[in-house]
Symmetry: C2
Subunit: 167 residues, 2 copies
DNA sequence: CTAGTTGTTCGGATCGTTCCGAACAACTAG
DNA sequence: CTAGTTGTTCGGAACGATCCGAACAACTAG
């Protein structure tokens, strides 16, 4: 049995391994677990015990990577934050860019290595494998979306038009 | 047009983003590009310009993660190093453990979050999605292995029995 | 215009990681 | 046994990343 604080701390650790900062990961944990739909800066600040400035940079980081959305309730004074509807899909796609990066790395290697057949074969294998993954992984995501709900794709599209959901 | 040193440096950067240390990544780049099949410590040391101790820990790290194999030629005095036959497959599988980790994180979240339906639905979605990926991704790897060469699996098995390849 | 609130930016301090050089242990050749 | 070589371990230094508190900018209400 674990507490909510332990869960948030774990989220910080896990997302840190994914390349985010520790506090950014803890924010995600907070938004994941907290039932409060209207998370704002003071609330996060109290829950996480971090400085206002750290929240600012972490939230900007999360917003720019598309994982967290910022919105302001009508006639509200302060920003509120919520997870993007397809947080996990976005996280997957972000990770997926590594495939392209390594494909390019392999191509760069082929351009600088000599004619040694062993090295060339290995680099070609590397290039083809990462290209294969970059090509097939999105299909896996689509497959998941369809399995989850036949009209999941449509739902994602409608939420992507910029109209905020919450009241 | 790039040089071999730039390629090695890029490999260091890319593999560092994957969680390895910088020098470990540069070692991989070296083993990828260098036509010299018999890479040893002095050679790597000269090529990378790092201390002997740094090589030791990085090579141990790479060896324990299964990416690099250490062998000693018959009647040789020093160890030699080569990439594992299925370096990339191993890298993929290592990355894949993140899926399980996040599945467990979602389950932990479900155990600590209340009955709020929104939070629960989101955590269940997270759990199911990562579980789906953890289940489907290995199939993708198998698919690749079969597409590349029908008896690739057999080849991998024979090289895994401990018999060193190089003379 | 003034006062109060919200979000951002900046300099300094702190923390963790990595690296290097030196001492150490293990092994081989002669 | 001795000398030389190879690989490992350890302490200190350097680097990068992150975080905090304070000053700053932007905005709103009255």
């Amino acid at each position: 049995m674990a507490t909510i604080d332990e869960f948030i701390e774990n989220a910080g650790l896990y997302y840190e391994r994914l390349g985010l900062s520790r506090t950014a990961g803890r924010i995600i944990g907070c938004l994941l677990a907290d039932t409060d739909q209207a998370a704002d800066a003071p609330g996060l600040r109290e829950r996480l015990g971090v400085a206002k400035s750290s929240l600012s940079v972490a939230l900007r980081q999360l917003e720019q990577s598309g994982l967290v959305e910022r919105y302001r309730p009508t006639r509200g004074r302060r920003d509120h934050y919520r997870l993007a509807d397809d947080v996990f899909g976005r996280a997957f796609r972000a990770k997926m860019t590594e495939f392209d990066a390594f494909t390019e790395l392999a191509e760069q290697g082929l351009s600088v290595v000599g004619q040694d057949p062993v090295a060339r074969a290995r680099l070609e294998l590397m290039r083809d494998m990462y290209a294969f993954m970059a090509r097939e992984f999105p299909k896996l995501l689509d497959e998941w979306e369809q399995q989850r709900s036949p009209d999941a794709a449509r739902a994602v599209d409608t939420t992507a038009d910029g109209s905020g959901k919450p009241a």
